[in-house]
Structure formats: structure tokens, C-alpha cells
Symmetry: C2
Subunit: 356 residues, 2 copies
């Protein structure tokens, strides 16, 4: 037995400061003293809230009846720190946004970490504090979590999985299948910023104007949109992350068995981002966004919807970029600047791995 002749029991409740460990050890994921110390010394203070403070196997939340939105995402972005964010804030924003894309008000997040043995503890702290800050700014508590540690060389520093719970307000019915011919397609701002920001760090490039990720929580913007357009008129919401605007709209076309037609000239893109995409050989339609939102709305509400987006600071650059059509169901087509229509396929290769 790993027991000893007795007290001081008080010492049990008083783990060493995590600062005594400059690097993550396997034992930090072992379920014993060091795991507890990580929880008490880092996660607990950073994420503090009543549900988490119970230190139970799960959180228990009081809920009204109604509809609950649930979403989960793993984050493996490389590099972990980039202009405009890091893996921690990105994980919070990504999950809050998936809830927002269901029309839901975020209620709670959970987080699980898979850490690589040898990760600098200071880096983990920086990520956790960023995550806690992003969650606070979005008004969403992190109510449960888990940490595992894998041997050196069997991971890549930090992988984060966040799960989000949200409440879908009465009257809101947002889903890909609701796109129908005649609907208008809106985007909340200039596309492709997140992917270009990540790639610029990865490739050691600096672009004019210092391209910064658009990573941001979008539930406030969505609430404005729903209020401005009227909930029944907002048919589909989607944040065009991996695979970009092309893949997001292509998937909606498939799910709803409708066609979608967009105008190349109408798609907003900041000039430095467009220039960077040209240098990098990337098609901006396929580049990931983390703080942009596509909205498919009834045509009679399109003007009000666009005005509502533009009235919100995150939607200042919003634009109407296309429409839902009955022709070519399942496909996204683009009217080019020079005229003519082309089929825009889903992303096929993988130009930008580990973008989120």
C-alpha cells in the first residue's frame, strides 16, 4: 500500500503550486495529486463558477423546458498562438458560434484537454486564461472539464475539445433544410481572414496591414439579426469555418436539395486578404473564417436582415451575395465577374490543414 504512518491530513488539501512544475508531466493526467493540483491551481480559479466548483463527475444545471442546442468541436490549430487569438479563445468562439448558428443563446461550455507530456506549464496557463477570458466575454460559464496527458511525441502540445449547450428561443427554427428558392444569401463581413492569419504565421510571412484572425463570438450578432429580420424569416445560419464559404454553402444546397447562386463581385474581401490569397495560391472561397456568419433569409426580410447585421459592430461589412434557386439542386454556382456561371465544388484537397 502506498500509505504512510499518518497525518498531516491538512497537507492533502494543500497541493503544491503548479509553478513548481515548469512542464506538464504524465502524472498531471493520472487522476491523482498532480491532476488535482492542476484543477485546483489552474482550471478551478480560471473557470470558477458554481457548477464547476462542486467538483463532481459532471455539472448539474437547472433548465427551463424547451429546446436545447448541443454542439461539439475539437481544436488542433497550429500554431497555437496567432494574430487575433489562440487555441483557447478559438475553442470558445468556435463552440459559441456553432450554438449561435442554431439560433441558440449559449448557456454553458465543457472543455477537455489532451496535453502532450513536456508542454510548458506557462503556455498551458496562457491558453487557459485566454479561454477563461473569452468565456467570460461571451457570458458563458465553463461547467465541466477533463484533462488527459499523452507521452511525449504522441500529441502536439495541446488539443482542446469544447462542447456547448444553448437554449433555442421560441419561434426560432434555423436549419440547413429550411433554405428554399427565392431566399437571399448574406454574409456578415469580409471573408478568409482567419485562414490567412494562421497561414501567415505558419509560413513566416508578413502582409500589408497585418492580417488578424476574425475569431469572435457571434451570438450577439445573431440575436440582432433574429430581432431585426424576425425569427421565422431566418432560415439557415452557418459559420464558414473549415472548407470556407464554398463548402458551407455547398453543404446547405445538398441538405436542402436546392441550388445556391452567388455573385463573385458581391463577396466582400479585404484588399490585403485578397492580395495574400493570391500570393499564397489560395482561393478565398475555401479559406476558413471564425468570426463570420452566412445567413439565408426569406427575400421579404432580406433588407431588414442586412440592415440588422450592418447595425452591429461585427456585421459592419455585411453584404448580400446571392440567392437560393430551384435550378441545379444540390449545387453551388457562382456568377463570375466576367459573366457566366461555374459550379463551385466542396473543398476537395486540404490546402490548409489544422486551421482550427
Amino acid at each position: 500500500m502506498s500509505a504512510r504512518p499518518l497525518p498531516d491530513p491538512a497537507a492533502l488539501a494543500c497541493p503544491l503550486p503548479i509553478a513548481d512544475y515548469p512542464h506538464v508531466l504524465l502524472a498531471h493526467g493520472g487522476g491523482g495529486r498532480l491532476s488535482q493540483q492542476l484543477i485546483e491551481g489552474l482550471f478551478g480559479p480560471a473557470f470558477a463558477n458554481p457548477a464547476l466548483d462542486e467538483r463532481h463527475d459532471g455539472a448539474v444545471l437547472a433548465l427551463e423546458g424547451g429546446r436545447l442546442a448541443v454542439t461539439t468541436d475539437a481544436f488542433v490549430v497550429s500554431p497555437r498562438f496567432f494574430p487575433g487569438g489562440d487555441i483557447g479563445s478559438l475553442a470558445v468562439h468556435g463552440t459559441v458560434n456553432d450554438l449561435a448558428m442554431c439560433g441558440a443563446t449559449p448557456l454553458a461550455l465543457t472543455v477537455s484537454f489532451v496535453l502532450e507530456e513536456g508542454l510548458e506549464m506557462a503556455e498551458l496557463e496562457r491558453i487557459v486564461r485566454s479561454m477563461a477570458g473569452a468565456a467570460r466575454a461571451a457570458g458563458v460559464p465553463i461547467v465541466a472539464g477533463d484533462t488527459k496527458v499523452v507521452d511525449r511525441g504522441k500529441g502536439d502540445g495541446v488539443f482542446v475539445t469544447t462542447t456547448g449547450l444553448g437554449r433555442v428561443p421560441a419561434g426560432v427554427d434555423v436549419a440547413p433544410r429550411r433554405a428554399r428558392p427565392g431566399d437571399r444569401v448574406l454574409v456578415s463581413g469580409g471573408i478568409a481572414q482567419h485562414g490567412v492569419a494562421i497561414l501567415s504565421v505558419r509560413e513566416g510571412l508578413e502582409f500589408d496591414g497585418g492580417i488578424v484572425s476574425d475569431s469572435a463570438p457571434l451570438h450577439g450578432l445573431v440575436a440582432s439579426l433574429l430581432a431585426g429580420a424576425g425569427p421565422p424569416h431566418v432560415h439557415v445560419l452557418r459559420d464558414p469555418t473549415r472548407g470556407g464559404v464554398a463548402s458551407a454553402l455547398g453543404e446547405i444546397a445538398q441538405a436542402a436539395r436546392v441550388g445556391i447562386r452567388i455573385d463573385e463581385a458581391a463577396i466582400p474581401i479585404a484588399e490585403p486578404v485578397r492580395a495574400a490569397c493570391e500570393i499564397l495560391g489560395l482561393d478565398p472561397l475555401y479559406v476558413a473564417n471564425e468570426g463570420r456568419c452566412l445567413a439565408i433569409v426569406a427575400s421579404e426580410a432580406a433588407d431588414a436582415a442586412l440592415a440588422a447585421l450592418r447595425a452591429h459592430p461585427q456585421g459592419a461589412g455585411a453584404a448580400a451575395i446571392g440567392e437560393v434557386v430551384s435550378a441545379h439542386p444540390g449545387a453551388l454556382v457562382m456568377r463570375s465577374r466576367v459573366g457566366g456561371e461555374r459550379l463551385v465544388d466542396l473543398l476537395t484537397g486540404e490546402p490548409l490543414p489544422r486551421i482550427c
Copy 2:
């Protein structure tokens, strides 16, 4: 633009069979065609249910009001296949059990995968099918998911994170803080089987009797216990996974600021498991379990609780192993076979990394 002169749009909705890819590629996590193919060809059919079939950014579930239990866990077990289970079934059981330890009835799971480029597709299929089977057997749908792929050498095949949602029935109030002096400590069966089963594969050892993981969903057993003892009398439930029985009880003692005293002679352990622990130099009190449950119950309900556990197939080997005391708050002590009491600390090192 990665576009082409046009149709056949129908081809978009008809991805290649995943069997055409013997290994996982980075593009399977890229958010484009191959991601979609993985979803349509593998995850969708395996996990099919109405919420998942919406192919939305999140699932929307109808809920009655009340209390919702939420829990999340990452699974990094190595090896991924072991006697009695695999990383897929383990992820389902582990999360269902964390819900059960809140006294909750499981409602839904989400799953996220972090795959390593080059993983055999057949192995992923085997894991996904095992997961789907475990979820079906437990009666819990997998309602949302996500997949990322990391470069070869930056992961270890498959990491799985599952999040569980459950409903806490009225009258149930199970939490570590509820342990109080006089309560009895029960365990649902012989300890240390899961950890020994994993280690036997890892070390290439074969033990007499073929030690098999105890991995199993415990919500049925917990429902029987709550019904038999009466919900208000069940104060704390805990599945002693990482860190084993010693760490689980030590943490409860700390959370409730009570002492816990257990009797070495009363702790059930199968003879082959005990022998294997001796050969491996492991203290069974610190070895992980995945299908065992600790229950701390009011003394007046202890006999009924033990009878209820024993009446369930998963609790046939249940035993009363100790009691909650007012002495030495925050500490777990053990009365040894030869008399005398010793402090049992939380797990300090990491004898068994990546056990779950």
C-alpha cells in the same frame, strides 16, 4: 477558383466509398469532400438518429424543464483494443457512467475525434462501430460530433472526447459534499480489473483466468440502487477510474471535509487480479476501474442499498467497505488486515499512464 465548367451536380451528393481510402488523410479533417464522405459513409450510418441526421452545426433536443447533468471526458487509452473493450466502447461507458454518478438518466452524447494522419480506416471503422454498439446498448443517441486530423507523428491514432447530457430525476441529490459522518461506503464489485486488463496487454502478459476489463455502463445499476435505497439516502456516487478507489474516496473526503475509513479485508478483489497486481507491483487501491461504482449512503439505508446493488447483475459482488467519520477530516484511512490505521494518500505518481 477551384470551379469547373459544370455539372453533374448529382455527383456532389454521392461521395466515394470510404473503402477507397485505406488510411486517414489530413483532408478527412479538412471540412470538404473527404470530411463529408467520412460523415456520410461512416459516422452517419453508424450513429444514425434524428438529431444527428439534421447535419446542422449542432443538435437541437426537446427538453422538459428540470435539472440537466453535463459531463465531458477525453479518452487516450493505449492500447486502443484490450480484453473486454476498446477506446470506442470505453468512451461511451465512461461518459454514461459520469452521468450515472450524478444520479442522472443519460439523454444524449456528443463525440469528437482527433485522428492521426495514416490511421487505418478499417481501425477507425471498428472503433466507430463499437462506439455505436455501446451507445445503442446503453440507449443513448450520439447527437453531434466533430473530426479533426493531425499530421503523422503529432497524435497517436485516435483520441476520443465524449460529452454526455442526462436528466436528474426529482428527489435525487448526489454530490461529493453530501458525504456525512455515519454514512456507509459501498463498492459495486471487485476492484482494479480494468487497469490490470490494460496493463496485461501493454506488457504482453497473460494472467490466469484471462483478466478482462470491467468496462460497462452503470446507469441501470444506479437506477436500481436509487430505487432500492430511496433517492434521498444516496448521498454520493463515484466511479473510481484514474487514481482508483483510493483517489476517489480521498477526493470525496476533501470535498465534504469528512474522514473516510475503509477496511482492507472488506474490499472485494478477484484473486487473479490480486495476484496480477502483486506481480506488476501495483497497489489495487490505485488501479483504474471502468465498470465499478462507489456509493456513500445513509446508514439507515445501507442494508437496502447493498441488497439493491447485489440484486443487479452488475452488482453481484457488491460489498460494504467502510464508513464516513468525523475524525481526520479530508483524509482517507484504512484499517489493515493486521490492525492499525494508515493514511491512504491520493495517487502521487503515475503508475499506469493512458489507462482511459
